[in-house]
Symmetry: C2
Subunit: 199 residues, 2 copies
Amino acid sequence: MKIVCLDLEGVLIPEFWEEFSKKTKIPELMKTTRDEPNYDKLMKMRIKILKKNKFGLKEINKIVSKMKPFKKAPEFIKWLCKRAQPVILTGSYYDYIMPLMKKLNYPFLIANTLKIAPNGEIIGYKLREKDGKIEMVRRFQKAGYEVIAIGDSFNDVKMLEGANKGILFKATQKLIEEKKEMIHAEKFEELKKILQKIL
Amino acid sequence: MKIVCLDLEGVLIPEFWEEFSKKTKIPELMKTTRDEPNYDKLMKMRIKILKKNKFGLKEINKIVSKMKPFKKAPEFIKWLCKRAQPVILTGSYYDYIMPLMKKLNYPFLIANTLKIAPNGEIIGYKLREKDGKIEMVRRFQKAGYEVIAIGDSFNDVKMLEGANKGILFKATQKLIEEKKEMIHAEKFEELKKILQKIL
């Protein structure tokens, strides 16, 4: 029995803030680490914009409840549960991502938490640990597991390289070219075929 | 968001070998660590009896597919998934326990693996690590989580005491008396009430 660690955004659900920006029509929320590589600055900016637009946790959850995972993601997770132990490793936050987890049938989720004021206003964020993804992969390996990791972006590379097997999924052409030695898939059906051989 | 670590047998499903013994009408399989405290001897005896009775993995799975979790366990796991991240920690084996996991909607399961011959015969077992339950609790704590542990028997005590909060569930009177300082519940409704206060 193997543990399969999956990134969340870009792999099972759309990029959260891009989707949120579209649904709320707040274009400033479209910015990602590609535009602002300093994560702390980026998050503080997001929190400021949310406050300006009067988006507390309740209002955010209303929007998120309308979001959807990728079309074939729920079926894929179901398929995977029969064959391995899936774990979602994400830099995202429990506080607003849980309505989407429901649509994936609640796989085990390792994420971070926001700081929320009693009135529901988001006032900060708390990262559990540095390099949370690869740290968790290492812990499972120490417990005697072989770990397969699946991710789409540069911030997944450490996890993909540290796992016993790393698979790029829905990755950008740039990342695929940079990590030529790494196997990659674009559709869930392809990913299943790859996994079928190694699970 | 907290991680809730649950023992499996006696907590969510009946004691596996007792149930298996009843369903197969092989009384020798009724023995547990209470009768034979040496786990290695106990497992080797079970493997021998299975072989004698021509029970390979296929035949075992046929029996297990007829077993059921405790009546309110699936609903409890569903309830818990909305409020915390459940993890099942068991000394049991993936190879024969998975049909029961399906009935619990596949919560994240940390277990061990059997050694199976190509013809399906069980020829041995492999424990991932010593003290697997408490080791995993400690790993989650190191990752920045508060951990609640739920168990029913003496082999859960280390995990219950090492967690941030330990709860005895469906435990024997003897254990309840020995661990007077520990909160305990007998029914899922009681357990929910306790969890509601601390999740």
